[in-house]
Amino acid sequence: MKRVNVQSEDFNVATELAALEALGGGGIASFTGVVRGGEGLIALELEHYPAMTAKQMERIVDDAMSRWPLLGVTVIHRFGRLDPGARIVMVGTASRHRGAALESCAFLIDWLKSDAPFWKKEHFADGATTWVAAREEDAAKAKGWS
C-alpha cells in the first residue's frame, strides 16, 4: 500500500493508521508534525511547488520501500494557512518488523524536511512575517541515511 497526498484540508490520523494496521504487518510507526504555537505566532503558511511536490514525495516513498521491507506507507503533507496546533504532516509505515517500520518512518520525515518542495512562512500577532530558514542539521540528517 502506498498513499501519498498533498492537500490543504486536515487529515484523520486514526483512519490512516487503521488502514496501515489492516495490512497485517505487526508493527505500525507514525510521525505527526503539528504547528507549534508560542512567541506570538498566529499562523504558519505553507507554500509548495505543485508540479513537483507529489512527484517528489512519491520518489522519497519509493526509496524507503526499496530500503525496508514495508507493507504500507502513508505520507500526507498539507499546504496553505495553518493555525497553531494544526497538523502539518504525517508519515505512517507498516512492516512485519518493528525496526523497519520505525527506521523508515524516521527516514521519511527526515527526507521530507530536506527534499520536499515546501516553504514555511510564520505570521505573528504584531503583523510581522518570516520565512523559516532551513536548518543545516536537517540537511545533515537526511544525508545521514545515504
Binding site: 508534525g33 505553507l46 507554500e47 509548495h48 511547488y49 508540479a51 513537483m52 512527484k55 517528489q56 503533507h77 502539518i88 504532516v89 520525515i109 527526515d110 521530507l112 524536511k113 530536506s114 527534499d115 520536499a116 518542495p117 515546501f118 516553504w119 514555511k120 512562512k121 520565512w131 523559516v132 530558514a133 532551513a134 536537517d138 540537511a139
Partner: protein, 86 residues
C-alpha cells in the same frame, strides 16, 4: 527559439514580485548559475533575490539540481530558497 518557464517560490517569489515568467531558453551549455546572474542583472527585485546564490536552490523539470548544472533542454526551471517542509 525554445521557451523556458521560470517559477519562483517563497521569498524569491516575493522579492521578484511574480511567481512565473517565460523567457527564450539560453544556449544549452549555460549553467543555472550563469542564467541566475543574468536575471540578477535586471536589477530591482531580481538583483535583491539573486544577490547571494548560496541562498538559492533550483529544480529543472521538477528534479532538484545544483546551480552548476547546464540548462540543457529544460522546459521548466524553479528557483527558490532551501526547502523547509516536514
Amino acid at each position: 527559439m525554445a521557451q523556458l518557464s521560470i517559477v519562483y517560490f517563497a521569498w524569491v517569489r516575493e522579492m521578484i514580485g511574480r511567481d512565473e515568467e517565460h523567457i527564450d531558453r539560453p544556449a544549452s551549455g549555460t549553467t543555472l548559475a550563469e542564467l541566475i546572474a543574468s536575471l540578477g542583472a535586471r536589477g530591482g527585485g531580481y538583483a535583491q533575490a539573486f544577490a547571494d546564490p548560496s541562498r538559492l536552490r533550483a529544480a529543472v523539470d521538477q528534479h532538484f539540481v545544483s546551480l552548476d548544472t547546464p540548462i540543457g533542454e529544460a522546459r521548466e526551471l524553479a528557483i527558490f530558497p532551501p526547502v523547509t517542509g516536514g
